[in-house]
């Protein structure tokens, strides 16, 4: 501030006028363009997301469904939909969703970690990394429904897997994968694993490559072996990304439905043990039961809202760290 020009009061009156003109000119506001540019998103958001969302919440307090071509309601019924929802097998479907997610997620994160560690290890000198990255990512590009149709055919009672196993002498008679609880749940989990491990691998690779090579070099000089390096350096340093992929996968898992829906024809067979929460929602939508479907959506909304809050907090802590840094910089200048 020492080098600042003359203060306004010290200036002659005419110059003062000019300055005040300059000041008003400086105040010309370009921010409206910002609002105009982001407006399309917000308009779309309000029409296609927010209004249906509010409607969904509203309908969750109504009796509102279609039978045949006749429409019943909407009649306000208070929280009766919620009472009915929690009296149904909601817990079972939550558990189904969770169990199928966890059997898929555990191998997914382990394989992804191993692959990411290998691909980023410059000592291994793997050739054709780009090729392998593409290959492991490919399953994610196939439509989930096409993928489950494929598995449905492969693992059917007269499918190739069964006939192969019988020819090799592992099975005496065809095993009904889709009629057994373990079989069908594992199939769903395997499919989710195959579809998503590539994605996770690439994310973790990025995280590992973000670690400064100095640390690895220093560790090596200190006589650190491969195992120690992985568990003592890599793992702790990519923890935030690991946590992030856990949470996103959890939210994705909560919305799981395409694979089991196609695999079991939307029935969640056997004994509704592969019925996920969203499949349960679909059952209600089949009858256009907006009331019950709304109540279930609100339940999912709250659960995923909590998960979102956790992600947000986690990411926010990260940026807080960055903010402090930049604040310090500001103080210095």
């Amino acid at each position: 501030m020492e080098n600042a020009p003359l203060r306004t009061e010290e200036m002659p009156t005419e110059t003062r006028k000019e300055v005040s003109v300059m000041n008003t000119r400086k105040k010309i506001d370009y921010s409206k363009w910002g609002y105009i540019f982001i407006a399309p998103f917000f308009i779309c958001f309000f029409i296609f997301s927010l209004i249906p969302l509010v409607d969904t919440i509203r309908y969750s307090f109504f009796q509102y469904y279609t039978t045949g071509l006749k429409e019943v309601g909407p009649n306000f019924t208070g929280i009766s939909n919620y009472v009915e929802l929690f009296a149904s097998d909601l817990g079972k479907y939550t558990w189904n969703t969770f169990i199928m997610w966890i059997i898929g997620f555990v191998p997914q994160i382990i394989i992804a970690l191993i692959l990411a560690a290998w691909f980023t290890d410059c000592r291994l000198k793997i050739h054709g990394k780009g090729f392998f990255k593409v290959v492991i990512y490919l399953p994610n590009l196939i439509m989930a429904s096409a993928f489950s149709m494929l598995f449905f055919t492969l693992f059917s009672e007269v499918g190739p897997i069964n006939s192969m196993m019988m020819q090799l002498g592992f099975f005496e008679k065809p095993f009904k994968f889709l009629a057994s609880v373990g079989g069908s749940r594992s199939l769903v989990a395997i499919m989710n694993f195959l579809m998503w491990f590539g994605n996770t691998t690439i994310m973790l690779m990025a995280a590992i490559m973000g670690i400064s090579p100095d640390i690895f070099e220093a560790a090596e000089i200190d006589g650190c072996n491969n195992t120690q390096r992985f568990f003592k350096i890599t793992l702790p340093l990519i923890k935030p990304i690991l946590a992030y992929s856990l949470i996103t996968s959890l939210i994705g898992g909560l919305q799981m439905f395409d694979v089991p829906q196609i695999l079991t024809g939307g029935k969640g067979t056997p004994d509704r043990t592969t019925m996920t929460l969203i499949m349960f929602l679909n059952q209600h939508l089949k009858a256009r039961n907006y009331g019950m479907a709304g109540a279930l959506s609100v339940y999912l909304f709250i659960v995923s809202g909590i998960l979102c809050a956790i992600v947000y907090r986690m990411m926010n802590n990260e940026s807080d760290y960055g903010e402090k840094k930049s604040k310090k910089k500001g103080e210095r200048s």
Partner: protein, 465 residues
């Protein structure tokens, strides 16, 4: 700062939730055009027909005399007077056809004249839903200028009864009858029973006790009686004493015969008479109709032989099938032509209906050309007495000899709008029971859950004592 965080959090939560709520709502406007079923007195230039497979389109293009040509992709058929038929085909599976049709019916009143649905097809399983007099989307035949009494006198009575609403007003008409028969492999019959004659085979399965005895013999010889546990379902559920849901009631009453089906099927499956618990249309089921399968027979109507068995067996394979009467008379399927309220093609609808469902010559042509069982009592009688008519696929047998009397015995007065869901839920819920995954009580519970989800207005499910 704190405020921004809160807003950002709120936004991110809303976004996340936005993904979960894809479905808005639209109010179901009454589709009836208020007093008149027709939106215009002048005939429109476009007839929109909605159906779920190629069957009806082929019937129209092959047998409707007014057809001039059909575009190579099959979407547009031009009639001799220049009117175009636009075909909209959506698959039946998973209720896709009905969902889309229901959606389009909601828009019917506001749609452009040439986009309005003029005709749609409905299957017996859900016909009741569309011919309901309160919903009034199906035009009564009388309004179209068709008198069911005189114009359709030759049709089987049960097909007319099935198309009547609660007041007995007929609102749809069908060109086919679907009397179910038993279709068996002749080579297996000769090997196990020493005969492949339809009458003698029928004597062996004349009732369910005899049927089970025959199944035992087949099993000893290394064969299965049926392919799927679902195969016999329709035979039993068609012979119930009461509909699934009585008019005006909100209770699903499970009939004794349905429980008998569950018991019998479980027993037969455990004894090894039935090959698989996979349902109909599944891979296993299709393969079981092939030339090298170990399955003796299937239950089905005429269209099953023509539309399902023939392609699954293979056109080139040696003809090897015979048909005889089923242990109990039953009906499976049947496509009905429905004139849709709001149409501007009154005369064309009338003409198509009369030609394809009331004209004996056309119906006989369809029967001779496709093997379908058509809706003409006198025609079918003639055909069944015509010894020169032989089906190559059935080793020279005249199938109408079996179909025609079977059609006489069908009664279809127990339809309810809930049939499709009940029949589907029955197969699914008890599939787990057949597979020994759940016990009988648990399967019953699952059946009830499924029904109540599918039909929120159903308040209870009652089982027979």
């Amino acid at each position: 700062m704190k405020n921004k965080q809160v807003i950002a959090l709120l936004m991110s939560v809303l976004m996340g939730a936005g993904v979960l709520t894809g479905c808005g709502s639209a109010s179901m406007a009454s589709t009836g055009a208020g007093g008149s079923y027709f939106s215009s007195d002048e005939e429109g230039k476009v007839i929109n027909i909605w159906t779920w497979n190629e069957e009806f389109r082929n019937r129209v293009t092959d047998y409707y005399p007014e057809v001039k040509e059909t575009s190579s992709d099959g979407t547009v058929t031009t009639l001799k007077d220049g009117t175009e038929i636009h075909w909209t085909i959506n698959p039946n599976q998973d209720g896709v056809y009905q969902d889309k049709l229901d959606e389009a019916l909601k828009q019917q009143a506001s749609a452009d004249q040439d986009d309005k649905i003029d005709i749609f097809l409905a299957e017996t399983d859900y016909l009741v839903k569309y011919i309901d007099k309160d919903i009034d989307v199906a035009i009564p035949l009388k309004e179209l200028g068709i008198d069911p009494e005189s114009d359709l006198y030759d049709q089987y009575k049960y097909t007319k009864d099935a198309a009547c609403d609660a007041d007995g007003v007929q609102r749809a008409t069908s060109w086919q009858g679907c009397p179910g028969v038993f279709i068996y492999r002749r080579d297996i019959a000769r090997e196990v029973f020493g005969t492949d004659d339809p009458d003698e085979v029928h004597a062996l399965i004349a009732d369910w006790d005899k049927y089970n005895e025959a199944a035992e013999k087949l099993k000893e010889a290394g064969y299965y009686m049926n392919s799927s546990t679902i195969d016999t379902q329709r035979v039993y559920t068609n012979n119930t004493k009461a509909p699934w849901v009585e008019k005006g009631s909100t209770t699903v009453k499970v009939d004794e015969n349905v429980v008998k089906w569950i018991k019998d099927t479980k027993e037969n499956l455990d004894k090894g008479y039935i090959h698989t618990t996979d349902g109909q249309w599944a891979d296993t089921w299709n393969k079981d109709q092939g030339a090298d399968s170990k399955v003796f027979g299937f239950f089905g109507p005429a269209w099953f032989v023509d539309f399902t068995l023939t392609p699954n067996y293979g056109e080139s394979a040696e003809p090897n099938w015979g048909i005889c009467e089923s242990p109990q008379a039953y009906n499976w399927g049947g496509s009905f032509i429905v004139g849709c309220s709001g149409t501007d093609n009154k005369e064309h609808i009338k003409d198509i209906m009369l030609s394809l469902t009331g004209n004996k010559d056309v119906l006989l042509d369809i029967a001779k050309g496709t093997g379908d069982f058509t809706n003409t009592q006198s025609g079918m009688k003639e055909l069944s007495e015509d010894d020169s008519f032989k089906s190559e696929f059935l080793c020279g047998q005249n199938p109408y000899k079996i179909y025609a009397p079977a059609a006489e015995n069908i009664v279809m007065d127990k339809l309810s709008p809930y049939d499709q869901g009940c029949v589907e839920a029955l197969g699914n819920s008890f599939g787990d029971y057949f597979n020994d995954k759940v016990d009988f009580e648990k399967a019953k519970e699952n059946f009830e859950t499924t029904i109540k989800e599918r039909y929120p207005d159903i308040t209870e499910v009652v089982w027979p004592e």
